[in-house]
């Protein structure tokens, strides 16, 4: 963590790139469209029976992609200093860890007889 923050500091406290962060309205609309399309794909996967075996992993990946898109572009995290990502990731990583750990404890381990 520290190294990244140091880089930021090296970059200086100067008013850093808000301007480069301003994408055009069209760009945002595009992102919105992509999000909608991915949602469509997800729902399609849900309905197409042939996809059933891959359903769970595919859906998780797709929705993760959506989440990343929103965070990077709508929330401009991509444009912010890197350590903001770290702060946020601390929460995301721990939350993901917790969800997975509990799912494993309750749904996976019992399959192996505890």
């Amino acid at each position: 963590m520290s190294t990244d923050v140091k880089q930021n500091e090296a970059a200086g406290a100067a008013d850093h790139g808000h301007d480069e962060g301003h994408a055009s309205a069209a760009f945002y609309v595009w992102i919105g469209v992509i999000l909608a399309v991915v949602t469509g794909v997800e729902v399609a996967i849900f309905y197409i029976e042939a996809m059933d075996p891959y359903e769970a992993p595919l859906l998780v990946v797709l929705s993760a992609a959506k989440v990343v898109l929103v965070i990077m572009f709508f929330m401009h995290l991509k444009m912010e200093p890197r350590f903001l990502t770290w702060v946020f990731m601390a929460g995301v990583v721990l939350a993901t860890f917790m969800v997975s750990a509990l799912v494993v404890l309750y749904h996976v381990l019992p399959v192996f007889g505890g």
Partner: protein, 612 residues
């Protein structure tokens, strides 16, 4: 201004007189005053919870005694544990965060001064609310871990458990707000040149602790919501008959609970990582390693919660995982211990009270850590879990670790706060009565536990033959109580009559010692530039810094406005939470109006005087 050491208190108070009336304290947003209020409140609760501990010890002094009824006993140990953890150890650490961190990083205040005041008032009201349960005779009685299904309405009718769950959720708000505040402060308010890897260890540990706060508290927050819903709205989260699993409560509680214990200990580690180098006249040995070890403890601490649940029946695979994760924590903790010793090695050790408490911590905490390792071995845990062996373990790490660390901090920073020393004579008395009383109280508990005495029992059979250990513990507890009284006496006495202290009484290296004692309300007339980890130990750097920090500015820095909205908002938040107990929805709905009003007024009130 050549010699910092000779400056007197009077000289420092030439330019500015602060308001000192009650109103100025109520409306203050100054981190230093908030710190003092935190400390005083936490110390008050320490006596409250300590008194309960004494009652517990008296009841347990002899087998088969009936001095207090089982119901009252249960309320006592529940409120002892809850109060000590949430109203003593945590807020006392927060008191130090508040006072010290801005000074250490060269800031005028924390990032959100009003939010800081709000945290304090919410904490105070939450604590008072929790303790008001005694007035209505319905104090929480289901232990500080509140296991379902004992907390379900069938087994805990009445308001007891409602007080507990509502009280804790109120306190959670204060903690999360505090965590956000300190993370932002440390990320964003450092003096020029104060790189992360130049921050004093105490600031570092505050940073890690704050992360633990903002991540762990939401988990128990949700668990408390479930509990409240189960009790008030008939959900079945923990109701076995409805398919709910009471063990889920344990998971959620300990996912919070284990990071919580590192919330308690890391600040203490931070304190002594600052104190030991100062009194050894040597920089901290292996600074980056100690920092990383702290980060690692905080991080791994997230993956070990089920070591509180080895008896629950999770199965061998889960048990093994949690065994491994838990034991790994011994390594970074050990690294810290060895680095402290190495710092002292070859140093010039001066045993002030602060140093005594720090060294005492290293000696005593290790005992508690090692009994932790014994618990961490799942099969061994099956014998030790829920016995006095565990009680011994956690008092060793909490009292011998967290509390002793904070007391070290108290003696270390008091001269900064007050411009006067705490009496060293009384300090040494405090230390030695603590050491003797503490060990006499908690060491025998190992034996009581090993020989089969479960915890949370209001009486025990004479047959167990553990009376001697209980008697020693009870005697120890009273010696320990004496130490607490000595501390309080020292505080009261030295506040007015202590020997005057200069700006840097200990010859310490960090920024907080570069300003007058007590500091101006604006801390730094101008913000100094930092060039190293021990700025005041490098001659050139020190001169440059002191030239800035000891200066009397012609115009004082502009500080945030005082505000009464924090206390009003805190009161209305507490009110709405407390009204949940009534279970009448429209009362609760109405009570949201004052909250909205306060938030609105808060938002509209300028944080700084006009023109800033």
């Amino acid at each position: 201004m050549s010699s910092v050491g000779t400056q007197t208190v009077e000289q420092q108070h030439t330019s500015h007189e602060e308001d000192t009336g009650l109103w100025s304290w109520i409306t203050t947003v100054d981190h230093k005053r908030i710190a003092i209020m935190y400390f005083v409140t936490a110390t008050f609760f320490f006596f409250v919870a300590g008194a309960k501990a004494l009652a517990i010890r008296v009841q347990l002094m002899f087998p088969e005694q009936e001095l207090i009824t089982p119901e009252v006993y249960n309320q006592f140990f529940t409120m002892h544990g809850t109060t000590m953890i949430f109203l003593v150890a945590m807020p006392m650490a927060v008191a130090f965060f508040n006072y010290v961190v801005p000074l250490q990083i060269g800031a005028r205040d924390v990032a959100f001064p009003r939010l800081n005041a709000l945290s304090y008032w919410v904490f105070l009201f939450g604590g008072l609310y929790l303790n008001s349960s005694f007035i209505v005779g319905a104090a929480p009685h289901a232990s500080w871990v509140g296991y379902a299904t004992l907390t379900m309405p069938e087994f805990s009718p009445g308001q007891n458990t409602n007080f507990w769950l509502i009280g804790l959720s109120i306190l959670g708000i204060a903690s999360i707000a505090g965590g956000v505040n300190f993370i932002t402060t440390i990320i964003n308010m450092r003096a020029p040149g104060m790189k992360l890897m130049r921050m004093p260890l105490f600031t570092w540990m505050t940073f890690v602790t704050s992360f633990l706060l903002i991540t762990a508290i939401p988990v128990i927050g949700v668990a408390l919501i479930y509990l409240g819903f189960d009790r008030l709205f008939g959900t079945v989260f923990f109701q076995p008959a409805g398919g709910g699993d009471p063990v889920l409560w344990q998971h959620l509680f300990w996912i919070f609970g284990h990071p919580e214990v590192y919330i308690l200990i890391l600040p203490a580690f931070g304190v002594i990582s600052d104190v030991i180098p100062t009194f050894s006249k040597k920089p901290l040995f292996g600074y980056p390693i100690v920092v990383y070890a702290g980060l690692l403890i905080g991080f791994i601490g997230w993956g070990v919660w089920s070591h509180h649940m080895f008896t629950v029946g999770l199965g061998p695979i889960a048990d093994s995982f949690f065994v491994a994760a838990t034991m790994i924590i011994a390594i970074p903790t050990g690294v810290k211990i060895f680095n402290w010793i190495a710092t002292m090695w070859g140093g010039s050790l001066k045993f002030t009270t602060a140093m005594l408490f720090s060294v005492g911590l290293v000696a005593v905490f290790t005992v508690g850590g090692l009994s932790g390792i014994m618990h961490a071995s799942a099969p061994v845990n099956l014998q030790q879990h829920d016995t006095y062996f565990v009680v011994a373990h956690f008092h060793y790490v909490i009292v011998g670790g967290a509390m002793m660390g904070l007391w070290a901090g108290l003696y270390y920073w008091f001269p900064k706060v007050r411009g006067r020393y705490l009496s060293e004579t009384l300090g040494k008395w405090h230390f030695w009565t603590t050491m003797i009383g503490f060990n006499l109280t908690f060491f025998p508990m190992h034996f009581a536990g090993i020989f089969g005495m479960p915890r949370r029992i209001y009486t025990y059979s004479a047959e167990l033959n553990v009376d001697i250990y209980n008697q020693l513990a009870t005697i120890g507890a009273f010696i320990f109580a004496l130490s607490a009284v000595i501390m309080a006496w020292n505080l009261v006495k030295s506040w007015r009559g202590g020997e005057k202290a200069p700006a840097n009484p200990w010859g310490a290296p960090h920024l907080e010692w570069s300003i007058p004692s007590p500091p101006h309300h604006y801390n730094f007339p101008a913000i100094p530039t930092v060039q190293s980890r021990e700025p005041l130990w490098n001659d050139g750097e020190r001169e440059a810094i002191l030239a800035v920090t000891m200066e009397e500015p012609e115009t004082e820095p502009v500080m945030p406005n005082p505000s009464y909205w924090p206390i009003l908002l805190a009161a209305s938040i507490t009110l709405i939470w407390a009204l949940v107990m009534t279970g009448i929805w429209w009362v609760i709905a109405l009570a949201i109006l004052p909250v909205i009003y306060c938030v609105f007024k808060w938002g509209m009130e300028p944080a700084f005087p006009e023109g800033h």
